[in-house]
Amino acid sequence: MAAALTLLRSRLCDPTYIHAPFKSSKQSNYSKLKELVSGTISDSCNNSALLLGPRGSGKVAIVDLVLEDLKAENPDSISVVRLNGLLHSDDTCALKEIARQLCLEHQLSFSKMASSDDNSQFMIDMLRECGLAHRSLIFVLVEFDLFVQGKQRLLYCLIDAMQTVTSQAVVIGVSCREDADQLLEKRVRSRFSHTKLLFAPPSREDMKSLVEHILYLPKNAGLPSEYITKFNAHVQNILNDKRFKQILDSLLCVDGTIGNLVQYLFRVVSSINLESGLLSLENFKNAQISCERQPTIETLQDASILELYILVCMNRLESKEQNSYNFNSIMKEYKSIHDAYRTSDNYGDTVCLRAFEHLLERELISYVDHRGRYLPVEFRPVELLISSHELYLGLKSNSSCPAILQKLLDHESFK
C-alpha cells in the first residue's frame, strides 16, 4: 500500500499535476495566459502581463504549465528566462543571471567576469538577435514586487529594450501583491502593458473536483485493481458525506486557496491507515483539527505556573493603562498580588527574572524597542504579545493553572 501512498504524496507535492484540470476549462487563467503568450509568439511582437493573486493560488504552476505546453508545441522558437525576486532583486545580480540563462539556452559560453554593463548589452543584443531569428524570449519574474524596490533599473532596461529593438519578448510578472503595478515607476508603467490576470480562489465545485482529481487512484498505476476500486469507493463515500462537506467548507472559509487545500490533503493522506491502506473520515477530521490548532494557546499551555503569574501581572498592568512597564514594575504587581491573596507561589526576584527570560524566549512577551540594548534586562520596557482573550483561553485550557490566577484575570477584564 506504500506505493499508493507514495503516488498520492507525489501528486500533492507536484503543483503542475494539481493544476492540470484547469487546462480544460476555457475561462481559466491558464487559457487566458496561453492565448496571450501564443498570440505574441505567432504575431512576433512584444507583450507583458502581470499575474496577481494570494500565495498558494497556483500562479507559478500555471505559468509552468503554459510554458511547458508552448515549448512542446513550438520547440525551437521559445527560450525562457526565470528570475526570482528573492534571489535576483539586485540589478547586477539579475542581469548576470539573465546572461547566464541565455548562454545556457543558446549554447554560448558564459563569462563570470563580465561586468554589469556587458551583461545588459548582451541582453539587448540577444533580444535583437532573437527578434531577427523569430525566436521569442519569455521572461518570468516571480515575486515581481521585489523587483520594484529601488530604482527599477532592470525593469526599465528590459522593457525599454523591448520597445526600441525589434524583438520578440514577453515579460510575465508574478506577484502576491495586488497593487504590484501601482508600485512601478512612471517611466516603467507607461511602457508596461496593463494586462492583469487575477487569481481568485476557485469555487466550491471546482474545489470538489480538484479533491477528486487528487485523491482518486488511476487504473493504470500498476496497483492491484481490487485495491484501486476499493480505495476509490471509499473516497467516493467520504466525498459524498455531509460531514466532509462541512469540513471542507470550514476549511475554505479560513483560506480558500489551492495551497491550503493541498496542505490539508497532505495531512489527510499522510495519516492514512497503513494496514488497510484506505482513507477514512477520521483522517479528514483529525487533519482538520491539526490544521486549526492555535500555536499561541499551545505555547501558553506549556508555560509553567510562575510564568503564567508573570503574564497575568503584565495583563493587569496593561489593563491599568500603564503605558510602559518593565520587569521591576511587574515584580511590584506580583508582590502586591501575593500580599493580597497569600498565594503559595511566592518566589524571589532571581527566579522570577529567569521565568521572565523564559517568556521572552517563548516570544509571548518582547521588549518594546531595541534602543536600550545596554540596559539590564530588568529595566527594559516590555509588552505582551498576546491578547488578554488569548491569555484567558490559555489559562482555561491549562489544567494545572491555579484557580486564583483565572480569578485575577477575570476581575480585570471580564467584569
Binding site: A2, S10, S290, P295, A303, N328, S329, R354
Partner: protein, 542 residues
C-alpha cells in the same frame, strides 16, 4: 548522569541532547564519575549523508525519547514511506523539548539520508550555505584543503543554483553506491532516493543582518529548486506566526512539541540513577514545587543535582531502599534546603568552584548553611586592580545617586563626619519619594558624564586615604595614588569592555560620551567589601 555531570561546561542544548540521548548506561561509580570530555552519545553528525549502520527500532525510539510519542508518530507520518516526497515541515516548541534529538533519532530510525545544519553554529548566510553544500558534496574541511569549503557561496542566488547542482551530484553518488549494494543484495527500486535538509534554530535568522531575505528564501527552497525529492524540515523555537511576511507565505506542515509533563520529567530524571527507589522518593518530594517554577529538563537537572546530594547526606549507604519512616526523616532533613533552593534554583556554579567544592566537600559536610548555593559568591570571583574597583564603585554611585546630592554626600572632610548633614538633605526631598522611586524602577541606572565619575572617584579615594591615616595602622591600602592619570581612563575602558560600565548614547548638546553602570547592588557591595569601602553610607536610599 553523564549529561548532568558535564552540565556546567557545556551549553544548555548539549545537555538536553546527551541527557535524552544516553541510553541507560551504568554509571561508573556512586560519587562522581569523571565528566566525559565530549558529549557521550552525540553521533558523528558530520557525515550525515552516509547511512547509519545500526538500526533503531520504533520501540527503542519511544524509550529513548520519553514523552515524545505523539510527536514521533506525527513526524513519521509527515515524512512518509521511503522515496515519497513531502511538503516542508516546521517543528516548533520551547527550548529543551527535544526537538532536535527527536528529529535526528527519527532519521536514524528510518535510515534516511539527511543534511543537518543549525543556524546557531552557522551564524551567517555564507557559513550556512557553505555548510549545507559541504555536507551534500561530502566535503570535509581539513588541513590539505586549507580548511576551505567545497564551494564559495555568498549570495542567495548562487546558493540556490549550487544547491540544485549539489543535490543532483549527491543523488548520483548515492545511486552509484546503491548500484554496488544492489548488485550484492539483488534488490532494486526505481525512484530516486529522498534527501532531507534539516535546518535547526531557524528563529535565529530573524536577527541576522539580511534575515528578512534569507528567511523567506529558506522557507521557499522547494519552490525555488523544483526538485521533487528533497524534503525540508525546519526546527524552531518561535511560533509559526512569527515568520509571517507582508506578502503572506505558505505555511509548512506544523508539528508542535509541547513541554514535558510531570510524568515525562520524572521518567527522564529517573534515568541512569544508581538507586532508583531512593531517587523516586526524592523526586516525589521535590519535583512538584520545582515544576511550578520551570518545566525545562535542563534547568531541573541542574537544580536537582545538589539537592539530591543534600538529600542523601544523612544516609550512610546509598544503595539503601528507603521505607516510609526514612522517607519522612529525609524529607524533614531536606525541607529547609528545599525552600532555600527554590529561590535560587538557577545558580549554575562556575566550574572551578565546583571542583573545589568536590575536593573540600568532606570538611564542609555537616554544617547547614542557609544559602548553600550562594556561599561561593560571597567572595568576588573576578580579579581586578584596586583602582578599577574604586572606579566601579564610583560608577555605581554615579548611576544610582542623583547628581544634585553629590556635593552633600562627598564632602572633602570625609564621609563619616558629615552624616548628619547628609540625612537632613535627604529629608527635604522626602515628599517626592514616590515619584522618584517609580521613575527609578522604570528607567534603570542613570547615566553620567565622565567628569562626574572622575570627581566621585577622586572623592572616595581621598576619603579612603583619610580613613587609612586615621587608623594609623601603618598598613597602607594599595592603589592610593589618587592622581588622575591616563591609567584610570584605561581602567575605565577595560570596565567598558567587560560590560560593567557601558557607554550610552552621548548627550546631543554637549557631545561628550555618557556612561552607565550595569552592575547590581549585590555586586557593588561585594566589590566594596573586598576593598573595605563603606559603600552603604554613600548610597542614597529612598
Amino acid at each position: 548522569m553523564a549529561g548532568v555531570e558535564n552540565a556546567p561546561q557545556t551549553p544548555a542544548r548539549r545537555i538536553t541532547r546527551s541527557l535524552s540521548a544516553t541510553p541507560s548506561k551504568p554509571p561508573h561509580g556512586t560519587s562522581n564519575p569523571p565528566p566525559p570530555a565530549t558529549p557521550t552519545a552525540a553521533p558523528s553528525w558530520s557525515d550525515d549523508l552516509a547511512l547509519p549502520q545500526e538500526t533503531v527500532s520504533l520501540d527503542d525510539l519511544f524509550a529513548l525519547l520519553p514523552g515524545r510519542r505523539s510527536q514521533i508518530l506525527e513526524l513519521l507520518r509527515v515524512i512518509g514511506p521511503p522515496n515519497s516526497p513531502m511538503l516542508p515541515a516546521l517543528l516548533c516548541g520551547g527550548p529543551s523539548t527535544g526537538k532536535t534529538s527527536t528529529v535526528l533519532h527519527v532519521f536514524r530510525h528510518l535510515r534516511r539520508r539527511f543534511v543537518y545544519t543549525s543556524c546557531r553554529s552557522c551564524y551567517c548566510p555564507r557559513i550556512l550555505f557553505e555548510t549545507v553544500l559541504n555536507q551534500l558534496l561530502r566535503h570535509t574541511k581539513k588541513r590539505e584543503n586549507g580548511y576551505s569549503s567545497a564551494k564559495k557561496c555568498d549570495k542567495a542566488s548562487d546558493f540556490v543554483y549550487m544547491l540544485g547542482d549539489a543535490l543532483v551530484q549527491a543523488k548520483s553518488a548515492i545511486r552509484g553506491e546503491k548500484k554496488k549494494s544492489c548488485s550484492k543484495e539483488g534488490q532494486h527500486d526505481g525512484n530516486s532516493e529522498m534527501v532531507y535538509l534539516i535546518f535547526d534554530n531557524v528563529e535565529l535568522i530573524r536577527s541576522w543582518d539580511k534575515g528578512s531575505t534569507i528567511l523567506p528564501l529558506l522557507f521557499r527552497i522547494p519552490d525555488l529548486l523544483k526538485i521533487p525529492d528533497v524534503g525540508l524540515i525546519y526546527i524552531s523555537r518561535a511560533m509559526p506566526a512569527t515568520y509571517y511576511t507582508m506578502t503572506g507565505s505558505l505555511e509548512p506542515v506544523y508539528i508542535h512539541f509541547t513541554d514535558y509533563t510531570l510524568a515525562d520529567l520524572q521518567c527522564m530524571l529517573m534515568r541512569n540513577q544508581v538507586n532508583e527507589k531512593l531517587y523516586s522518593s526524592f523526586l516525589s518530594v521535590v519535583l512538584k514545587p520545582f515544576y511550578r517554577v520551570t518545566r525545562r529538563v535542563d534547568e531541573l537537572a541542574i537544580a536537582l543535582k545538589p539537592l539530591f546530594k543534600k538529600y542523601c547526606e544523612p544516609l550512610k549507604d546509598l544503595k539503601l531502599v528507603p521505607d516510609e519512616g526514612m522517607k519522612r526523616r529525609l524529607f524533614d532533613y531536606l525541607q529547609p534546603h528545599l525552600t532555600a533552593s527554590l529561590n535560587e534554583i538557577f545558580e549554575i556554579p562556575p566550574w572551578a568552584s565546583v571542583e573545589a567544592k568536590n575536593e573540600g566537600i568532606s570538611s564542609k559536610r555537616g554544617n547547614i548553611r542557609k544559602s548553600w548555593g550562594k556561599d561561593v559568591y560571597n567572595e568576588l570571583d573576578i580579579h581586578m586592580p584596586i583602582s578599577a574597583k574604586y572606579l566601579l564603585i564610583s560608577g555605581f554611585l554615579a548611576s544610582r545617586n542623583p547628581a544634585t546630592l553629590d556635593a552633600s554626600l562627598f564632602d572633602s572632610t570625609g564621609g563619616s563626619s558629615n552624616s548628619k548633614r547628609k540625612r537632613k538633605s535627604i529629608k527635604t526631598s522626602l515628599d517626592k519619594q514616590e515619584d522618584i522611586a517609580e521613575e527609578i524602577l522604570m528607567k534603570g541606572p542613570g547615566s553620567f558624564p565622565l567628569e562626574r565619575l572622575l570627581a566621585i572617584y577622586q572623592c572616595i579615594t581621598s576619603v579612603m586615604e583619610c580613613a587609612a591615616e586615621d587608623h594609623e595602622d601603618g598598613i597602607q591600602p594599595e592603589g592610593l595614588s589618587v592622581h588622575l592619570m591616563s591609567d584610570v581612563l584605561l581602567q575605565l575602558s577595560t570596565l567598558c569592555n567587560a560590560n560593567f560600565i557601558c557607554k550610552s548614547n552621548s548627550c546631543p548638546l554637549e557631545g561628550s560620551a555618557r556612561y552607565r553602570s550595569t552592575i547590581d547592588e549585590d555586586m557593588a557591595l561585594k566589590v566594596a567589601r573586598s576593598i573595605n569601602f563603606p559603600l552603604s553610607k554613600y548610597i542614597y536610599r529612598r
